[in-house]
Symmetry: D3
């Protein structure tokens, strides 16, 4: 089984780190195919950026659709997820939604801990967009944004442990999701110090993608009633135009 | 005052019709500047298409930002609205949200009547995304999709009147929004036959854009705390890259 | 076009101030007809008072219905709004609902800043009654109630700026509504100091009333299915009895 | 113990019938004091009418406040309830809210069956206003409004049984409330034929008023923090002005 | 009338205290039949414990069903309530739900004050399970759990008064419920010091059970459509097996 | 890895069928340990039965806790899930919740199709209890309950296909869950005929249990703040008493 690990950000080091985590999660059960956006932004942090990056996500999935079994959109805001899931006939999961659904299976309630107050609002909106608002205990962050993203796992380690502990003891979160690509992989490291179940979103998303691919391989590919009708387009990259055209010729 | 009437679909005749309606709505109080997408789709009808078209909306606003006072995104799914409103320092309204908020000021409850059952789900999601789900009485459509969009106002006139009447009498809608660009302008024509207040979305969106521009011209332009920080990008059209970079040079 | 600016409070100076703001908002586009309650309370501040004042609102609209094109109920709790909109065949807007809908078109989220903690609960209930609870970030007020209402704009200016700034930076409100007639007109004055879009409710309500009147003048007056059936009454002022009787004789 | 059974409608026969039902419910445990509105409407059926009648309710309670232990507002729309409960220092219950809360104690889910489709929307709004929307299975009515209200219990008996049965078997309502004063007293008569628990709103409201009066007589009368501050008024009947003024002189 | 006061905890002194309160509430109008669990836990404080105790509640009701008119489940978490109400043909109320519904009739909003932060989450979940989340202002507790439950009414009296005052003044709660069996009976004692209406859950639940029994005795016992079909079982105490079997022989 | 497949019903043939499906789902990646309830009911179908069976679930998990890595509660109502997840330090999933979360990762919206109208209400409540109500399109069933459960997969095959098709085309469900143990394994068989993604709950629950066990084995076992404190009990089976006592001696 092949899983496309699609980083809609342009930062290659982030992709490398996430690919290593994804490989550790699936072991021999699946092959991880990492790709990094070649246009767009170093790190998506606004709705306008997610609007644009979501279009890139569709382009990147269209390029790989025939050669992979499932897709992980490796950015916490899940750019492009809704459109991709509607358009393509293979499982597509987003880092935020997959970790939220996983957290909801591990406990009654969950919180998100992340590295910067600048992400609070967006991450909270992403969680609420999953529909699980009533089991969500909020986003906890350090008071100030970090100066550099590269080493937040070291610089903010103690803060993250403290915030996760607060989420468990004050906000009654059974599960804490460490949100955002810069924290990918930290969960294992701090789990013993946190009085809650800690979820790494890349691990969760990759395992969920594998689970869904296993399930769908068992059943015939459905002719989905809710798949959009074939449509001509103009100015789109060929693979995406073909996908939207259901394999027919683009305009 | 200048209002950008931005059609994210590529169909010029649709733009022409909507521009005429918008001009009738504002009279001498504003100048309507119509623009039509030159890439993308003839008529957006899925989430993937809206993801892509929303990116085009950002590009088109960036091109005109300096020369207009407000923007109307003239497609019922409001592609790109959330990102545009966050990024740009002028009022941006979407056809769906503007007509929903207008309807909520005209009556306690409202419904949407449109031309095709293929739009039901998407339009319902757009209305719910405004937050006014509890005052919404649903989407009513003919049973079958029309073969041609060009003349639905003539072909479906009786059906639309009947559906709007049902919305008022059975579903207790005080206000009926005629959703979707193909029905733009029909409201005036059928209003006398419908036992509810009928809203034309282009009229509503254009008047709301004018209202917001009037309000914002009265107050200093705020230095919004929630505006995204300036960011470099790669591969974006120059005006959009500049807007995201807050006027600085793009990468 | 004539807009009835109906102050359900008995304080004439409040009406004068609000009329000036409303006139500045509409310019030559409409004539503002201010009226002040001659019974009731100097300043409505409870549900019982709003119950009574809402009845006075119906009486006052009935007196002017034939000679105006739209009505603004100029008190933040929107007394009588729901009944008035159902009964009368012209647009009626409330200060709270109109500013909430306007705020929702200007940003994703909004908060209310007002002059006294005594208003917190009622204002919050009024906002929630519009249905937009999920986009609402709460009511922020000074800790203590002011001793005098007449000069709160001067006395509390710095507090209001600080509260509006907190709403934007801590509570992620894109838009701040300055709630309550005593703050009418302050928005322009402080807008440059607040990192959010600031909404003056009288300006918003007056412009929305004008917008709705423009829209409704374009369409035939509907024979609304949801208008209450004609009914006889006893003991009501003649104009209101006539309106409820659909123009027929009262008992 | 004395319970004020306040009919905000002017129809004396309705009051007489409801008083008999209330007396049967409380037996010797309480005395029922029936009063009928002397102004207003024969039967409230719209929001404007409820706005006006709610003011009359406040006047009527103020007249009797000193001599009763609890109040039942005997109209399903609960006119004036929120203001009355805030203003007066004795228990005040509405027919709709009291029967909804009682139904929620008798079963997981409940529906309302009433005599006319004209009441559907208003009754549904009254139920939702209690906050128990998620346990509510809707309002069921005959298809056409009855020509006369006086004998709906006889004319519509079979319809009501059938509708209540449908509520239980199709809509999974454990409890059926027979809404509206014209059906008062029918519950006992049809209970054996309906496969659900049937609630008579007058019985429920009267017993709840008695229960609350028993509870409050056991505790000292609180100095409620949320009681509105004393306020002068103009043009109100003396007892209501006194209540709003906290017993001080009116203007 | 006989009311079964069923304590699903094994602590006899708790039962004795609650029985005294219940008797004071009903006076001569009903006989209180107290029973105490003989298996299970001294004091239920978790979901697993409530799962088990809820089964015991069913067993205990089955033993007494024929000889009582209504049942009070005298533990704030309402263990077994939903199943009991579905299975048995007599009114069954839980301490939490009955006090919540009573509070909602006494004021617009309510809060819960209890003796230990360990109960916060569970009590909040119990309140939300009633459906009245939107009128609920939260659970307030002392910062630390008490060392002994036996004398919390004395040890924590001042804290409880302060917390109830905060609920009223800061959180705008009109009504304060003193949650948890260890606080049973304290309401009368502190009511004069709290600026809100204070509700004792045992008093509320007992009076509601009496009210419901009065109402149901008036109507024929319905053949409930939603009562579970008769079913054989294995290993259950005879009375419960009989109830589930609808009186037929168990396996 | 060992996964306990716990059937809280007493029907061995149901366990055998579900174990075969679970084994097919996990292949060599995990060992399935099936257990069947030896007390209780042949097939749980009411809340009272679930209350009792949920206690049995706790007993059965306590017996096997030390020798398995995860638990599947193999009944659609998820009896005992909330208490088990709180009490035990290993992943516990329920058939309903696991298939709902899986469905939410496969599509925007989902419906449940099952074999009998008698399950509609309970299954709908189970889905809503997961918190994902807003993405849920309802339960669809044949009009009549089947006479025998043993062969519903054959007898009702065509009905199930038709209902699943209706869910997709009329109710806009992207995913259809085949709810209830009697339909376990049917998904693969009918998937090619249904225009939606079809989910088998046993497959989903087993794969989710495996996923969660993989994730938790990677992190240290947390000292959960929200785990109930150790407590003595009376009359419980020894293993469960020990678990509740945190391994200490029972009373």
């Amino acid at each position: 089984m092949k899983i496309l690990l699609l980083n809609p950000n342009m930062t290659q080091s982030m992709t490398d780190n996430m690919a290593a985590i994804a490989r550790a999660a699936v072991g021999d059960a699946a092959e991880i195919i990492p790709v990094t956006a070649t246009r767009g932004f170093p790190y998506i942090a606004s709705r306008a950026e997610a609007q644009i990056a979501g279009g890139l996500v569709l382009e990147m999935i269209a390029e790989h659709e025939g050669s992979v079994d499932a897709v992980v959109i490796a950015a916490f805001g899940d750019p492009g997820l809704v459109g991709a899931r509607e358009l393509f006939d293979l499982p597509v999961v987003g880092m935020a939604e997959a970790s939220v659904m996983t957290a909801a299976l591990l406990g009654e309630s969950f919180a998100v801990v992340t590295f910067s107050p600048l992400m609070t609002r967006w991450y909270a909106e992403c969680v609420c967009a999953t529909g699980l608002k009533d089991r969500f205990k909020g986003v906890l962050t350090p008071e100030a944004a970090p100066l550099r993203l590269g080493n937040v796992q070291t610089d903010l380690r103690d803060d993250i442990v403290l915030l996760a502990t607060t989420a468990a003891t004050q906000d009654h979160a059974d599960v804490v999701i460490l949100g955002g690509a810069p924290l990918a992989g930290l969960a294992d490291d701090i789990a013993a110090q946190v009085p809650a179940i800690v979820v790494d979103p890349i691990t969760a998303a990759t395992l969920q993608a594998m689970t869904l691919a296993l399930m769908r391989s068992k059943t015939a590919k459905p002719n989905r009633a809710n798949k959009p009708a074939a449509k001509a387009s103009k100015g789109l990259p060929e693979p995406l135009a073909m996908a939207i055209q259901h394999g027919g010729p683009s305009e």
